[in-house]
Symmetry: C2
Subunit: 165 residues, 2 copies
């Protein structure tokens, strides 16, 4: 298979994965482009590679920077900003876990805390309390799994998983 074709497939597949996990497809594709590039790229490179507008490129690069999975790089004698991706997949997984935990799990936990104070003794209220309690406990568990994943390094994690690296 030719490189360009293979790259295209990878970028598409990565974008698809992102999209089905609630991440903007273009954002995931930009990250794929940066992952595949041996050297940092500027906004124009990315615009050209993915055939997208400056606004779109800028917005999504910004988002990737805020997730901490893409970094800025400055090239001496060039005013443009260049970007490169975190290439350690383990580090990437940790950062994505951290971000999603913050953005999605925590809001649910907050709501669960609020609604715990529901009044009454009817069957519906009992059912409600039960569901809220078990959802809360599951969310806490998920948080601790993510915390653990984020704290351990790859080696220790896989040793702990009982698999060879």
């Amino acid at each position: 298979m030719k490189l360009s074709e293979a790259q295209q497939k990878f970028i598409q597949g990565w974008g698809q994965l992102g999209a089905s996990w609630g991440i903007n497809r273009t954002m995931a594709q930009i990250q794929a482009v940066l992952l595949l590039s041996p050297k940092p790229l500027c906004t124009d490179d990315i615009m050209e590679r993915l055939q997208i507008s400056r606004g779109n490129a800028n917005m999504n690069i910004r988002e990737l920077l805020s997730w901490g999975v893409v970094y800025k790089s400055f090239i001496p004698g060039d005013r443009k900003e260049y970007y490169y991706s975190e290439k350690d997949m383990w580090e990437l997984a940790k950062k994505v876990s951290r971000e999603r935990k913050k953005r999605e799990l925590e809001p649910l936990v907050r709501i669960l805390g609020e609604v715990k104070s529901v009044e009454g003794t009817s069957e519906e209220v009992k059912e409600f309390r039960k569901v809220v309690k078990s959802a809360g406990s599951m969310a806490k568990r998920a948080e601790s799994v993510l915390d653990l994943v984020m704290k351990l390094d790859e080696n220790i994690f896989f040793k702990w998983m009982g698999k060879k690296k």
Copy 2:
């Protein structure tokens, strides 16, 4: 807090969580309604509760059934189908893991297998191979984590996590 208000908040929050994980908001809300109901509900109950059309309700119920997180229930002497949710959050988490692994991780793994055969010795090709290899290894790891989660029961998992139940 009053039950109706609390339920409303829970349904909204659950829908939000679903939406940010790439699950149709209404689908998640229907599941929340069923989670909170002490008894099975029919399509009309759900339509009324969420103020949605019959088509929409039917489509999303169908999807929930296909994920295996909602079951059908028949009430003697009634021709309508009734639905109830899997209420064990651990079971729910396992089923969602299984479904997402199948729907999203597997396609990526397939693509990675395809593009592995890229030809050449340039730096870009080397970089490409490296990225594909580490993405593949991460995907396999993620799959084994999910497999493990799906195989273990809640007790064993949390013991293994070093936390009390």
